[in-house]
Symmetry: C3
Subunit: 138 residues, 3 copies
């Protein structure tokens, strides 16, 4: 049973931008030749996070507003270390989590109809971003 590795790249706007990566992950699975297994999608970097949501314009606005309320931009000890003003970005990313693992069966991701795999870039500026896509299966 092989391990198949892929990488995905995105140019983001940051500030809790929610990016639907489902089609790209599905393409990686299709290219892998694997039928059944799990895929782990993980952010390379400490100010982005992975989860799933219904990717629709309302939630894409709700998620940043929720984060602005729970973990607002402001003064954090992190900023005293680096003076880069993105302490809130780090805290949000650690809370949501850096990776998501989803099963696939018969070559298809096991997700609900209105459930997409999303990358959220919490950094406070646009970034060139890389996700690691690791598939294990048979």
């Amino acid at each position: 049973m092989p391990v198949v590795s892929g990488r995905l790249h995105y140019e983001t706007k940051g500030n809790a931008q929610v990016i639907d990566v489902t089609a790209d992950v599905a393409q990686e699975i299709a290219s892998s030749g694997l039928a059944d297994g799990i895929v782990t999608v993980s952010v390379v970097g400490s100010t982005g996070a992975m989860t799933t949501c219904e990717f629709e314009p309302g939630l894409v606005r709700d998620i940043p507003e929720l984060m602005d309320r729970l973990i607002p931009p402001g003064s954090y000890h992190h900023d005293q270390t680096w003076h880069d003003g993105n302490g809130h970005s780090h805290l949000r990313a650690s809370l949501v989590g850096p990776s998501v693992t989803i099963p696939f069966s018969s070559g298809k991701l096991v997700l609900g109809t209105w459930q997409q795999i999303v990358f959220i870039d919490f950094d406070h500026r646009g970034r060139q971003r890389e996700l690691a896509v690791q598939m294990i299966g048979e």
Copy 2:
């Protein structure tokens, strides 16, 4: 090393109901014939989440109360898209996360004595729910 897939079904009450699925996941592992590996349990749908907790009556009340405080029901942009009143359900599910991955060794889940695998249904009404259980091991 095979991949073994299972599905679990629950009828829920929604509203952050916490459901202990540990025994059902353990049964899937026992049926798989695998001794050592990992199991990923993931929610099919975007208003449920997976985590672990000590499954006792106090925390089963504390978790909904915490969520009512952090992400209360109310007016979200999502509701303006669908008018279904469950914007908070989606946000809670994305924050907690759609799947959990736990090791198993010698056919047994590696968990603490007071640690259970739980499915939390954040939707605002009862649902028929499906969890995917993907085991990889040897």
Copy 3:
């Protein structure tokens, strides 16, 4: 393709202490002889959590302060069950999540330069702690 299991042990201070376990996980991968795969690191117990962050002194203070604000110590139903005063510890651990899964390639963890795997002990007292490290790959 084998499964390789390891265990890591830490003596902690609790109270949202953030512990960098990256080097220990990397050592487990090196010892496994596996080149490519995924590693799941999970807490054995219900008051600790796994995630990644930039491990620097500022964030190590910001994380406990964030948790004190979002889920303060206080009166929870859990405490009425056990009278052990750590209801907030359980809620924090369930929210952050009990395990993290990270890819490795050519024997190395796929992480950003300033991204470390961290164990956060949310219990309200120091503990002897065990993490399960499960590697699957080839």
